[in-house]
Every structure is written in C-alpha cells, then in structure tokens.
Amino acid sequence: MKGNLEALLVMFGKTPKKPKQIAQPAQVIHLQKRTEKITKQQIEEIRQELRDVEAGKYSKKWRNRRWISIIVINLMFTLSFWIDIQLFEGSIIASRVLGFHMADLYSALQVVLAYKVMFINLIIGTVTVFIIWILLGGRAFCSWVCPYHLLADIAEKIHLKLAAKKWVTNHEFHRGVRPVFFIVFSILAFVLSYSLFNSINPVGMISRALIYGPGIAIVWLLFLFLFEIFYSRRAWCRYVCPMGLTYGLTGALSPLQITYNLSACQHETACHIVCEVPHVLECVKKGRAGNIEVDIGTDCTLCGACVDVCPTSSLRFEFKGLSHIS
C-alpha cells in the first residue's frame, strides 16, 4: 500500500532507508544483478541515457497530458466567469463544479479552525474533494490540477538549464519543515481567527489572478518563481505547501499509484533526475527494493515523469485491484 507507515514518515521528512527485510524473490534478483557482467556497451548506453535525460531529451507524453489537464481545468474556471458558462464557478480553493460544491481540503481546514463553525456546504465540498482524491491518487491534484504546478514546472525547467551550465546550484532544505508549516499555519488560524496561510498561498493567488485578473499578489508569485529558478529547485512544492501535504495524506488511502517493478530495472536512476519528490523513488536504487513490485509512496504526485523517462518500463501507473492503466 502506498500509504504505509514508512511512506508517511518519508513524506513527513524522514530520510528514506533501505528496508530491513527484503523478500526472497527480490533477494534472488538483487543477487543476480550483482553477479551479472555489464558490458562496456551497456555502460555507454546508460551514460548516454543519463546525459539525454539531464539535457531534457526524453518522452514528454505524460508531461503533455498533465499540462493539458492543468490548462483545461483552470481555463474552465476563467471561461466560466468571462463568458458566463457557469460550469466551474469559484476558484481552485473553493468552487461549484457542475453544481457540485468543492473545497480544497487544507483551505477548508484553515477556515474551520479560524471560524470554529462547520458550514454544511463546506462539509459537502470537502467530503466531495476528499472522495475524488482518494479515488484519483491524492497528490495527483498537485500535478494534474494545481495551477502553481505549471508555473513551478517552468521555473524548474529554467533552473535545470542554468544548473547544467553551473550558473545556479540547488539549495536543499530539510523536508521535515513542511509538516511544521502545516501545524504552525493551523495553530495560527485557530489563534488569530484568520486563515493566514491563504494570504500567501500562491495556489489561490494564481487561480484568482487567472479568473479575476492579476493584482499586486503577482509580486509574491514572481518572487517564488525567481526563488525556485535561482536558489532552490521546486522549493514551494517540496518544502512548504501544506495543501500538498494534505493531498498526500488523502492519497495514502488511494488505489491509484505509481508501481515499480524490479525485474528489468537497470538502476541508472534517471527517474531521480526528473522526479519532483525523489525521496519516494528510493526503491529504484540498486539493492534497495524490498519486493519485486514496490508501491511508490504517497508523497508521489503521479506526474508521470518517471514513467516517461524509464527505458525499461519499470515504473508505471497502476490502479490497485484493476488492470494496469496505460
């Protein structure tokens, strides 16, 4: 299950470790791979692959689908207001989609803590969203709906280009700070009776800017954009966003996930290069997989970049209990 204790702890900031127990069939494969001779040609192929991935030369199938999804969904909100088709009313934070109430889970939590009253429409909205993202994989919200994700994707692309030329370096933070933000913002909402997080939440800001027109909030978005290009890769999504953490918790119960298969994997870890949250891909390192099939942890945003990049199809989308998608 993608939401096992280890996956949750890793999401809260724990450094992923090699599993204590490795199942017998996986041990056999690990041993086989250790003893197998790798030819020079194979090594050269893998090096070439890594060079290509670093240069951004790989399939963009899932990325394109993801971008289309983000653009279409957010465009629906904008058009609903502009040409008054009234299909997606409101913004990403709270809306009525085809008449159904929807509310972002962490924003709703902020409001409930601040207001200390549960309003019926908000309960309906959060339960609806909760069920949707249990079915659709939790943090898939981040990759497939969140408008900030697209902005961060572009910033990340520029960051990687500059980093390849050694013009910028990525400064990592401790991932454990994200649950701290989650808790501190929740406490502040309760104490201040005001949802402080929404004052700086770039997700709400960008969504409102797209629908109601940009304002001064753009300055904060621009700052985050530049911060992610020049200082720290994907900083907001990786180290701050409590919305993402909430969807991660939701996704712990989800059957939709990325599944790793050990058998054909060459352990070149090209997937680590493209992954937004590489700590979920610990199992692809040589000798780390505890089983032949491993469920990728719940912090995974199901963006599909690893699926795009993997030459051996060792990573794939799976809906647990159903046949494989894609």
Binding site: E89, I93, V111, E172, F173, H174, S199, I200, R208
Partner: protein, 242 residues
C-alpha cells in the same frame, strides 16, 4: 555521531540553518500581511449582503470568489495585497458599482460556500450592509432647489443599474439612462428598498432623509450626480432609534 569538522556535518548544519531561514521567511511574509490592519492603515470596507460580523467574516471567508461570479452587476471585488487583511476577501465599492439587487434573491449569499454571507437572509429587505448618511448636505441639489438633467454620472461611468420599466431582467449602464427632473431626487427614486429614503422638508429645505428600512446597498451613493457624493454608506452601521 558525525564529527563537527566533517564536511557532512557542516553540510547538514548549513541545511538546517537554511531551513530555519525558510521558515522565518515564509512565516514573516504571511504575518507581514497583517501589518496594515494592525497599523490601521486600511479603511473598513462595505461587505456584500449578508456578511456576518467582520471578525467572523474574515475568519470564515475561503476567498473563492463565487460571490463575485454570480453578481449580475459585478459589484463585488476581491481585496488585493495592498488592501489589507483578507487578500481575496470580497468587498463592494458602492460609488463605482453599488449592489442594486438586480438578482432579486441575493445570489451572492446563496453562492457562499462557507457561510461568510449568512444564509439566514432570504430577501433584500433583511440585508444590513450599513446605513446611508447625508455627508455633504450643503452640496445636495435638492437642498439647493436644483433639478437634474442627463446622465447621472457622466458619459464615462461604467456602473450598472436596473431600470425595471426598460428591462426587468438585465441591468443597464447608468450612462444609458437620461434623467430629467425639476428637483433632483435620484437617490430616492433609484433606491431599491421601499421606505428606506424619502425627500423631506427640513428647516425649509428639501433634503433626502434615511429611514430604518435602509439596508446600506449603496445605490444612492452610486447614483448621486454631485462630485464628491452627497450621500455615503457607513459600513456595518446599524440603526439606532432616536
């Protein structure tokens, strides 16, 4: 334990300090958004119909903008970063576009998903946004005994107002309506609430007088042809019997 001079210890220590910096930066930025309010730089704003107590209103608003979307005259705006507490919280600038109840059933209240706009309100007469006040009686056209001819707010004014005899369902631009009155009573004739305002004799002058039925919608403030407006809305003010 890593020794204190090892590069790994140093790197992890640097990362820790960076992380503390990130935490302070993000929290500081979010707390800074409260500053204008603490410093009382931001004047209070007229809230949409049905808005609950200001503190609860700010607490409960989820900043989705659904009230903005349903308003037929687009009177509601979301506050900006420089407009103080509640980035994304809705307000109405009555002078540029008042709430004229073109929607009849207080649509914004129905749209609100969090109860920031109280669902106890079912008709426009129950709304209490504030109270109108004659701020500058000396420049009131009625008091000066003057009539009014033409566009109430000039040719460039973009505000909308429902004129029932022209179009029951669609509000029309204020500039498309030409007035011709012998004694200016625009605030009285355009008031959407019965018995909220009337032209009375005050010390030998004619002057609009506000009554208890006033809901504070701001149509009088929007339509007043005098610049600056004679009549204004006091946000959240409630009627006190004299």
């Amino acid at each position: 334990m890593l020794s204190k001079s090892s590069p790994r210890y140093k790197a992890s220590r640097r990362r820790f300090l960076r992380t503390v910096g990130l935490f302070i930066g993000v929290m500081g930025t979010s707390l800074a958004t409260l500053l204008p309010v603490v410093a009382k730089l931001i004047p209070p704003k007229l809230r949409p119909p049905g808005a609950i107590e200001e503190v609860d209103f700010l607490a409960s608003c989820i900043k989705c903008g659904q009230c903005v979307q349903v308003c037929p005259v687009e009177a509601i705006f979301l506050a900006e970063l420089n407009e103080g507490i509640g980035i994304g919280v809705p307000y109405i600038d009555a002078r540029s576009q008042a709430c004229d109840f073109s929607c009849d059933a207080v649509q914004c209240v129905l749209a609100c998903p969090t109860g920031s706009l109280s669902h106890d309100i079912t008709n426009k007469e129950e709304v209490r946004m504030g109270l109108a006040r004659i701020a500058k009686p000396e420049s009131c056209l009625a008091k000066l005994g003057l009539g009014f001819k033409g566009q109430a707010r000039g040719a460039n004014f973009t505000g909308l107002l429902r004129q029932e005899e022209i179009d029951r369902w669609n509000p029309i631009p204020v500039r498309d309506y030409l007035y011709d009155v012998d004694l200016c009573d625009l605030c009285v004739r355009e008031c959407p609430i019965e018995g909220a305002i009337s032209l009375e004799d005050v010390n030998g002058y004619k002057l609009p007088v506000i009554h208890e039925a006033c809901v504070g919608c701001g149509v009088c403030e929007m339509i007043c042809p005098v610049e600056p407006t004679v009549i204004v809305i006091d946000e959240r003010k409630v009627w006190e019997s004299t």
